[in-house]
Amino acid sequence: MNHDASTAAASPRVRPSYLKVFLMFARNSLVRNMMFRGNFIIECVTSLSWMAMNLAFYMLVFGYAESLGGWTKYQFLVFLSTTLFVNSLVQAFFMPNAEEFSELIRTGNLDFALLKPIDTQFLISLNKVDWSALSNFFFGGALLVYSLARLEQQPGLIQMVLYPIYVVCGVAIFYSLMIALASTSVWLGRNQALYEFWFYITNFSRYPMEIYRGTIGSPLRTFFTFVVPLLVVVNVPARLMAKPLDAQSWPLAIFALAAAIASVWASRMIFNRAMLSYRSASS
């Protein structure tokens, strides 16, 4: 072998290409998903069926009432498709990782992630992609096209451009919450309830924020808009697309952008703190 210690010191230190690493993660995950094709198909069918049922329910409800918090049927369907976009992206790219992260902390097997010369948060957040979750993304796409066509007022170019940006902001906010929750496994031990907690909490964001009114509703709405910005996730992009632009749209939109950035920053702080307290497993 023609290697010696001095070469090691002298060889150039190449920074990993985060994009290339992510593409590898995506590719490996796809290969894996395809290895278990039966499962993959079942997952796709399950999530689509789930969605279909929810859709049927809403259609049933709109058979009785004209609007929900000021959103007519097709406006609400735009809202629903936005929910689908955000949730499917989160479930495809981040959910499996957050679950595994929690488990790795609990079993003390996070060690290997901490050994790699790459940002740990990047590594544990993106190393698995659940491709089957994207089936809902396409369902959302179809639903969006269907409902946009039936709106009284179609969205303009600005809205079409801003929409994907705000969907991404929504994903960022959900991701931050997820990773922050998963990080708390370091201090709280097994986090099963925290996961159910996640689903219940995001339940708040699946309806237009206008439904939260009254003595309890209003403060709830304020809290989940400005303190834990869950309501911003789907509401902002959906409103951009479904409702005509007015002066009121902009403050919230700007806030949404700020909230996304702040959430990601806050979750990184929590993550780093958790990594410092990590205990590993006794062997």
């Binding site: 210690a5 690493v21 290969v31 290895m35 010369p117 590594l123 410092l276």
Partner: protein, 335 residues
């Protein structure tokens, strides 16, 4: 020049006390009782570049914890350590690129995919040049003779084969320092042997610094000259393997072969009779009394053969471990 410097390194944990019984469990909801467990209690160590050092110690001695501290996986409760000038628990990327940790029976490769996919991922993460990567990989694969297994999903490999893949993955980026935590645990003898000879060969050629933990003495004997005995979170010995016997064992073993089939009686006054099966007898005799005992025996009896040996290394080490445990229990028992 020391590549690893450790001073007063200590690590202790809080462990939640589980109470027995229903009522106590309910009480546990509101008020947890903790216990402080010291895994590492002040370790001082210097290792030079290119050394192969073994940490030997019983379970719970703190060997793995020490390696984890040196890899930066956990941070200490006290003391300092520097590896290649870096403080490990700062987890700097520049440091992480230059060392590797391999843990026995723990798997970092993707389970369902062939090892070669994991290797490629490594290449991307460590930023290894393609040409250099191909060369390294081929060298390591051929040395460990696993080429036909590269395309098989990792979960289909045997434990020994998986361990070899783990080693390759760890060495692809040419680390200067290698930490091995019980690498041969759970492996069959053939696999153990094969990995041991690989490590010996690799270390000699590459001149990497290796820290290996084990509770198998065979690993240690096969691979290195310098042994550090860790027990109960502290270093009890640091030196050569042969020195252990000299330091810790107060006895030697005299084996006597008598003519005929019978063994004369009364030998027990010289020491403990370990084995007696005519015409052979083994006596455990205090070191200081060897010459005297031999003189008397040879004067009184006719002997066909006599040999004086050190007790088996494993026994000595086992005694050291149990001594450490007793000391530890004494500390705990003290109010």
């Amino acid at each position: 020049m020391a590549i690893i410097e450790i001073e007063g390194l200590a690590k202790s944990y809080r462990v939640y006390q589980k109470q027995e019984g229903l009522l106590a469990s309910v009480r546990g909801l509101f008020h947890r009782t903790y216990r402080e467990v010291s895994a590492v209690r002040g370790i001082d160590l210097k290792v030079d570049a290119g050394e192969f050092v073994a940490f030997l110690g019983p379970n719970g001695a703190g060997k793995t914890t020490t390696l984890k501290l040196l890899s930066g996986v956990i941070s200490p409760s006290g003391g300092t350590a520097r590896v290649m000038g870096f403080v490990p628990w700062k987890r700097e990327n520049a440091y992480r690129r230059r060392f590797a940790l391999v843990m026995g029976q723990k798997n970092q490769l993707w389970w369902d995919l062939p090892a070669q996919e994991s290797f490629r991922l490594h290449q991307q993460i460590y930023g290894i040049e393609p040409a250099q990567f191909d060369r390294r990989r081929d060298e390591l694969v051929d040395l460990l003779q696993v080429r036909p297994l590269l395309g098989q999903p990792v979960r289909e490999l045997s434990l020994g084969e998986r361990m070899k893949m783990e080693l390759i993955a760890a060495l692809l980026h040419s680390p200067e320092v290698l930490f091995l935590d019980e690498p041969t645990i759970g492996l069959d003898v053939v696999a153990q042997h094969s990995i041991q000879s690989f490590l010996r060969h690799y270390q000699q050629i590459q001149k990497v610094t290796v820290l290996l933990t084990s509770h198998y003495m065979k690993d240690v004997a096969a691979l290195c000259r310098r042994v550090v005995i860790i027990a109960h979170g502290q270093i009890m010995y640091d030196g050569s393997l042969s020195g252990i016997v000299d330091k810790f064992s107060g006895h030697k073993i005299i084996t006597l072969v008598f003519p005929g089939d019978a063994v004369p009686g009364g030998l027990s006054r010289f020491g403990d009779v370990l084995e007696e099966q005519g015409p052979k007898v083994k006596l455990k005799v205090d070191r200081n009394g060897i010459a005297e005992a031999l003189a008397v025996i040879l004067a009184q009896h006719t002997v066909d053969d006599v040999s004086v040996e050190d007790p088996p290394l494993e026994e000595v080490i086992a005694e050291v471990f149990s001594l450490a445990n007793e000391q530890a229990e004494a500390v705990v028992a003290r109010p």
